[in-house]
């Protein structure tokens, strides 16, 4: 009985969403093509009416999803849901096309606009080499410090964010859920957003960039580290417990030896990512090579921009190669 109600509700809301979305898309297209205007409330009411009408006459996308056994004998092209999915895809495509302002004509005919930056790439201005290298060094160190400062925080947090280490008590669960939630939340906020926040907080410059990357790295490493802990072999943990060791000794002697080399691998990988992100973060006030690139681009000094782009590419390439090599070695350890 309770289950039936749940399915009916799910079906209803799926159908409602489907019809409102469909009407919304059609309205957007009609508005785009013919300038047709309508109050938004009519879309909702219309969606509701269509949902009820079709559901009562037994035609429903939601029912197909939540009561799958009912219609399976029919070929998709003979069913309502088959056509509704096709219709959904078609309108979505058209709406997307107009929303994104896709324009292949511009792509093929307006190459001339990019001539400045292209010729800059092939004639980089080496006069600003020393200035650029200084900014680049700033970026690399910024990324390095962000990674280094993130390690101790992530290291300690990861133990409390590992399901297999946290006791299955209310406190244990609360700590686990809280840390996991914060890690996910902070990680889903892009470093670039953190950079905007910190450039206001501590002022524009590499320090703001470092803080931004550090916050993001703590969240990302906590997740990676704790997943590594959840994957360890439980045997040694049991064995060390059995010797009479206390919880902290178990962590130090049974857990840490198993995670140390994957931790190092993840950390180096993170530094690699941070160097790349440090450039972007520089664009919004995080200092370093990104900031320099932004300034030169705004001054339309395309030859300077060219040199900076080459330098960034070289550093990213070198970092990528060395970090891959080191990680390979660590995995073997």
């Amino acid at each position: 009985m309770k289950n039936n109600l749940k399915i009916t509700l799910k079906t209803f809301f799926t159908d409602l969403l489907f019809w409102i979305y469909l009407l919304g898309c059609l309205y957007y297209l009609f508005n785009y093509w013919f300038g047709f205007e309508l109050e938004n409330i009519y879309l909702l009411v219309g969606g509701l009416i269509l949902t009820l009408l079709f559901m009562l006459s037994g035609i429903s996308l939601g029912r197909k999803l939540f009561l799958p056994s009912r219609f399976t004998e029919l070929k998709w092209s003979r069913t309502f849901w088959g056509w509704s999915v096709i219709l959904l895809l078609i309108v979505t495509f058209f709406v997307g096309w107009y929303l994104v302002e896709v324009n292949p004509y511009k792509f093929f005919t307006k190459f001339g606009n990019a001539r400045g930056i292209m010729s800059g790439l092939f004639n980089p201005n080496f006069d600003i080499l020393s200035m650029s290298l200084k900014a680049l060094t700033e970026t690399i160190y910024l990324a390095l410090l962000a990674t280094l400062f993130a390690i101790p925080f992530a290291f300690i947090l990861s133990f409390f964010a590992a399901r297999n280490l946290m006791p299955k008590t209310l406190l244990g669960n609360t700590v686990y859920v809280a840390i996991r939630t914060f890690a996910t939340l902070f990680r889903s906020i892009e470093a670039i957003v953190w950079a905007i926040i910190f450039s206001v907080w501590v002022g524009i410059g590499p320090f703001a960039g470092m803080l931004a990357l550090m916050i993001h790295s703590i969240a990302a490493l906590t997740k990676l580290y704790s997943e590594q802990i959840e994957n360890i072999d439980d045997g040694p943990v049991e064995a060390i417990k059995a010797t009479g060791a206390n919880t902290l000794q178990v962590w130090v002697f049974a857990v840490i030896p198993q995670i140390i080399s994957p931790y190092l691998a993840f950390t180096i990988y993170r530094w690699d990512i941070n160097v790349r992100m440090a450039t972007i973060v520089g664009f919004v006030g995080g200092g370093g090579i990104g900031l320099l690139l932004l300034q030169q681009q705004q001054l339309l000094r395309w030859q300077n921009v060219g040199l900076i782009i080459w330098l960034i590419a070289a550093v990213v390439w070198i970092m990528d190669m060395t970090s891959a090599k080191i990680r390979e070695k660590l995995i073997e350890m």
């Binding site: 072999d233 045997g235 040694p236 049991e238 064995a239 060390i240 417990k241 059995a242 010797t243 009479g244 060791a245 206390n246 902290l248 000794q249 130090v252 002697f253 049974a254 030896p257 198993q258 080399s261 350890m333």
Partner: protein
């Protein structure tokens, strides 16, 4: 001889609802070599892990050397655990560190946290670790990483680790199940020696009847979480055997 291990009406119900132990009354005397037999899933590992509280029992009593295990926690539990060495089927060593380091970790129950964190072991402990490695014939392997050792050697390292605890009791959960027959016998020989020479009480689950007869002084058989046979290995005849392992079992398959 006094009982060193006693359980009274011991039950274990897992969170999943499985009733793994259904009223176990076990008495093991000091110096016995007690073999646990039973089909896969009969509750052997569960029983062994309840004895040193690696898992919490649901009801019943456990006494080891006069101490109440069920209510023990904190320092008392550590003190109980450190006199119980444990050996596992999968050896459960730390693979990427040396044999010596693994053996030394057997002393953790005796040292303070601060001391162990500095990784500075007492000279006596290091000497003892070498001594124990020598006992299991692995002195030359002290500085080898465990993952480079064979299965039989790893199990001997595990025995040396247990010896570091100066245990009165050794719990062995299918210690030879992942070894070939010859290596299995060597490992059992070491356990037998600890039992006879050092007067350690051993409880060892096994699937090999021949080894049970060779090393055991007593056999306890479990079936569906209950004790279905208790007696000397000699009493374990064909009929008893079929009772434990089911009508279709033939002794050949577990010789």
């Amino acid at each position: 001889m006094k009982n060193i291990i006693e359980t009274r009406d011991l039950h274990k119900v897992y969170a999943s609802g499985i009733h793994a132990l259904k009223g176990i009354n076990l008495e093991v005397k000091e110096g016995e070599f007690c073999i646990l037999l039973g089909l896969s899933g009969s509750g052997k590992s569960t029983l062994l892990r309840c004895l040193n509280k690696l898992i919490d029992s649901t009801s019943g009593e456990i006494n080891i050397d006069g101490e109440n295990v069920v209510t023990a926690s904190g320092y008392t539990l550590r003190r109980i655990r450190r006199q119980i060495g444990m050996i596992f089927q999968q050896f459960n060593l730390i693979k990427n560190v040396t044999a010596l380091t693994n053996v030394l970790s057997g002393k953790l129950g005796y040292v303070s946290l601060g001391h162990s964190l500095t990784f500075s072991y007492h000279k006596e402990d290091i000497d003892a670790a070498h001594e124990n490695l020598k006992r299991v014939g692995l002195l030359n392997f002290a500085n080898k990483k465990v993952k480079n050792l064979s299965g039989g050697q790893q199990q001997r390292v595990a025995i040396a680790r247990a010896l570091m605890q100066d245990p009165k009791v050794i719990l062995a959960d299918e210690p030879v199940a992942s070894l070939d027959p010859a290596t299995a016998d060597t490992v059992m020989k070491y356990l037998g020696e600890l039992n006879r020479k050092d007067n350690m009480t051993v409880i060892c689950s096994l699937h090999f009847l021949s080894l049970a007869r060779k090393y055991g002084t007593r056999v306890v058989a479990l079936k569906d979480g209950k004790i279905v046979f208790e007696g000397s290995p000699k009493e374990l005849d064909e009929r008893k055997f079929k009772e434990i392992y089911g009508e279709d079992a033939e002794e050949v398959e577990i010789r």
